[in-house]
Amino acid sequence: MSLITPDFGLLVWMTLIFGIVFFVLAKWGFPMIIDSVQKRADRINDSIRQAKEAEEKLRNLASEQAMMIEETRKEQSRILKEAALARDKMVEQAKVQAGDEASKILEQARVQIAAEKESAMRDIRKEVALLSVSVAEKVLRKELDSGVNKDELVGRMIDELRS
């Protein structure tokens, strides 16, 4: 029957031993293990979450990049178009300006030619007048030399001058 009667001495020793073991393990044993394992579990969870976030970010980055390229391309074509437009405008302007300039130069040339022509005509006229005077002198002298109607002639010429 001693098997089912707890022995007092063993009871005391067991309480003491188990109490000490419990105290020591509860203070320096298990919490350390549990906390460390918990910390590692937390860290692993954190790492997984961060990896997921990074992946997400990377995916966003790729789409962002594609968007940027698209935008750049648009910008490029816009700039090219603008440049073409500006070029066309400049050429047009240059053409107009050149035309203006040319017409101005032509006008000037025309004016100058007209002036030259005028002065040339004046010279010719002067020359012709001188020539006709000298011809008239020669004719007159010949008539006078012939002596026919000398006086009448002089008279008529004076009359003509008076009139």
Binding site: I4, D7, L10, V24, L25, G29, I33
Partner: protein
Amino acid sequence: MLPFQAVAAGASDTDVDLDMDEYLYGHVRDSYEWHITTINGKPVSIPLPVIVISRNGNGTHVFSSRHLEEGEYQGFSIASSGKYENKIVEKGPGGSEIRPWDFSITKNVLGLLINSALLLFIVLGTANWYRRHDATEEAPKGGVGIMEMMVTMVEDDIIKDCVGEDYRRYSPYLLTAFFFIFINNLMGIVPFFPGGANITGNIAVTLVLALFTFFTVNLFGNKHYWKEILWPDVPTWLKVPVPLMPAIEIIGMFTKPFSLMVRLFANILAGHFMILGVVAVVFLTAKMGAAVNGGLSAVAVVLGVFMDCLELLVAFIQAYVFTMLSAVFIGLSRQKAKTH
């Protein structure tokens, strides 16, 4: 337990009839010396210190149990029969045998000390690994890895599930209980010296364990727990004038740890008895001739291996069950009031 020891002890007994009672109980009960083997009819055992405080004014005595082999020593002797069989007794007034206060380091106490030292070494060694390493950077391997796996298993599967919200407060106790029972169970299966003491199959040991659970449950029980005991949610006539339900609940308070105590004790003790019984077949058939003895011995060895494997399983299961039920009882005492 101890098939080797039994074989050694039995070898010398082949010329005499095997005293089955003495053989069985001798191996599972507590004793003042640690019997290791018997060589040529001479027992080889470790004498352990006896510490007794006399109850009839004889004072405190500390001496080796070796002195008790011859009979009486300093007024103390081991009773050979009667109420205190195999315990140290002294002569009381009127010549009757009375029991002194007996705080001897018995086989079980020494076994407890050895196993506890082993447990402390293992668990503190494991904890030390975490102190020396950054657990967030690396995982332990080998023994520390096994310990981590077991601690995590008990923590996650038993404690977290059964205790509920504030399980963190109770996990040191429940983990200690689990590993304490487990290591003592395992050491009980080891058949030679540092093992082989029937510790968790001793009622005093399981009683203390059950008491720890009892106090943990009842000292930290919340208001709802006490209300459920003293004024449970049942029809009023079950509570007044005869407090039938409260009485049942209060009895339940004690039957829970009582069942814990008996379950562990009976399982481990029965396991030891089974193995001892199987091994005993070898010696009981010794006189039946070589053929019968040889054949049955072979059967006994196969059965013994099977039983040892079974006991390994039981060692784990009983530690698991004790811890789980303790956790469930604690969980019940921490339950919040439900809206019915």
